[in-house]
Assembly symmetry: C2
């Protein structure tokens, strides 16, 4: 019989934690036991895993004894504190927060792009930012063919990326506005219903947000190419789930629309949805709940020498977070890497 693992999900009650539980089940991940961890407030909650009840436990320094693999999605502070404890206890961590992503000895992995980076893990493997994941999945086959030199990307990001409370806030505000009442503003700095917020995460000194900077830095690390220049504008839109991106790519070498479409059609994890004559293109309401990254509106940009425009949509809770983390875990299983190197 093949090996099975004791798997913990830290942040099990959140939007991503919930998706992690269901994706582990859907994909028949070899789970011997599933341990659901969350804050003291959520401890005792009855959660579902494969139709069976799992009782949520409080995340403590002792939580990782006897655990082989932990998927973290409980925020940067929690990861910073508990991931090293988990590793100390011999548990391999796949971390969805931004806490460890840019650490030189932590691989930052998108399985379709840089699977071999899992090989040098030292106990923690980082899951990239949602906006970055769907962009690099599409960039990879095009970069291998014609070398991407510059990317200008504008995002249209769903509220689910902020968590379950943000989905509730969008619904609450929308309902109140439809009824003619003033919306309550708690999660975002401004009303998100029927609005666009050109701010995701906090602002840095240079006027960019941390989210925008993540797209710059993480792309280079995942693609293993520091020469790829990324200019990003990240915007929150009143969509429940599914991030969209308008991506302008410049290449070192010529790349026709036809060849790009061919490469993308063959690329793992990518689905080409591009039939403008029939008004067919990727949309968040269709990508939501799906595993693939959808690409459409593939067209030549005549304003630069070798350039293309693309429209890319993916489920930010799945490919942008939970699915990618489980795919990393699957890679670790396949390569028998669920152990902390000493």
């Amino acid at each position: 019989m093949s090996k099975e693992y004791r798997v913990a999900v830290a942040g099990a009650t959140g939007a991503v934690g919930r998706a992690m539980r269901s994706i582990l089940a859907e994909r028949d991940f070899p789970v011997k036991e599933l341990v659901a961890l969350a804050t003291a407030k959520s401890a005792g909650m009855h959660l579902d895993y494969r139709g069976e009840e799992v009782i949520c436990q409080e995340l403590t320094p002792e939580s990782f004894r006897g655990i082989d693999l932990a998927l973290f999605s409980a925020g940067g502070g929690t990861s910073l504190k508990y991931a090293p404890m988990a590793r100390e206890a011999g548990c391999v961590v796949v971390d969805n927060s931004s806490a460890w992503r840019m650490e030189p000895d932590v691989p930052l992995v998108v399985p379709e792009v840089n699977p071999d980076d899992v090989n040098w893990h030292k106990g923690i493997i980082a899951n990239p930012n949602c906006s970055t994941i769907q962009m690099v999945v599409v960039m990879k086959p095009l970069h291998d063919e014609a070398k991407i030199t510059r990317v200008v990307v504008s995002t249209y990001q769903a509220v689910s990326g902020t968590g379950a409370k943000a989905i509730n806030e969008l619904m609450q505000q929308t309902g109140r506005l439809l009824a003619g009442d003033a919306p309550e503003i708690n999660v975002y700095p401004h009303q998100i219903a029927f609005n666009c917020l050109p701010q995701i995460d906090v602002f840095l000194e240079d006027g960019y947000t941390k989210e925008e900077q993540k797209m710059v830095d993480e792309t280079k690390k995942i693609m293993g190419d520091n020469s790829i220049a990324v200019s990003a504008t990240c915007v929150r839109v009143p969509v429940q789930n599914g991030h969209s991106e308008a991506i302008n790519l410049q290449f070192a070498r010529p790349l026709s629309v036809e060849r790009a479409r061919e490469l993308l059609a063959e690329a793992p994890g990518v689905k080409v949805v591009d039939d403008p004559a029939n008004k067919v293109y990727p949309m968040p309401i269709e990508a939501s709940g799906q595993d693939d990254t959808y690409v459409g509106r593939i067209r030549r940009d005549p304003t630069a020498e070798n350039a293309l425009n693309l429209w890319v949509v993916a489920d930010n809770l799945r490919k942008g977070a939970a699915l990618n983390a489980v795919q990393i875990a699957e890679l670790l299983v396949q390569r028998d890497l669920i152990r902390v190197p000493r």
Copy 2:
């Protein structure tokens, strides 16, 4: 006493027509008589102008007898048919449709950018596309200083640009979805509530939409510079009113963020709203109902030699349509150009 004019609004009952009526009143345009024109279906409707009732008349070939100035916002087909008839009757037309914009003998005018183009009108002056207007208002002072060579723009366009029926559709779909019912889809090819549609207007052969092509062509004509290359992705978002744009500009000469901010602060019709430390940036819910074009998130783009990123928001019904048309009419009054040259 200064001159007063008999003014017709064709398409008086639509979202833009309504805005035209209220802006003419707000700005004390010298109206001797206001004639409201619309389809036979709307004829007889009681409309408001300066608190007085105006009875809507059916638009016919005879509607323009004795009219000095007509503001058209009744769709391309109506403009194509009736604008020449109006001109024939001695009435100057300011047309909000796309029908006449690219005609070589029709000026395409944004008063802050190319006011002098009204001087050579031959009876029809075109009002540009909403997305283009707010972009060129911001580009103009920067172009004069450092010469814009390439623009990559992604839009976040409100439904009001499609008309009153699209606002109703967004509200109807949103309400039904909140109630757990299936949304009805009539105006757009797909659900717009909680979604992003990467299609505005129809698709052309090269994979771009007509809206995207308008931004390319109209920018060159208004700016009077065919060397400005524009690459556009136009997207409809579930916002009632107010278009947003993420604009990446490349310049021939260096332009610092500080200097750009200074130029924009002095530019007519532009308001700099850019204080990220206090989470202050332009947003559609705040630009809606306002006359200025708002610019913020002004930052250097280090991925190209002389490049900046901007976030620009304006009321697409006002500056993007009705206000700009009335401003053109005001220019005509100032220059005593409300007459059809023979």
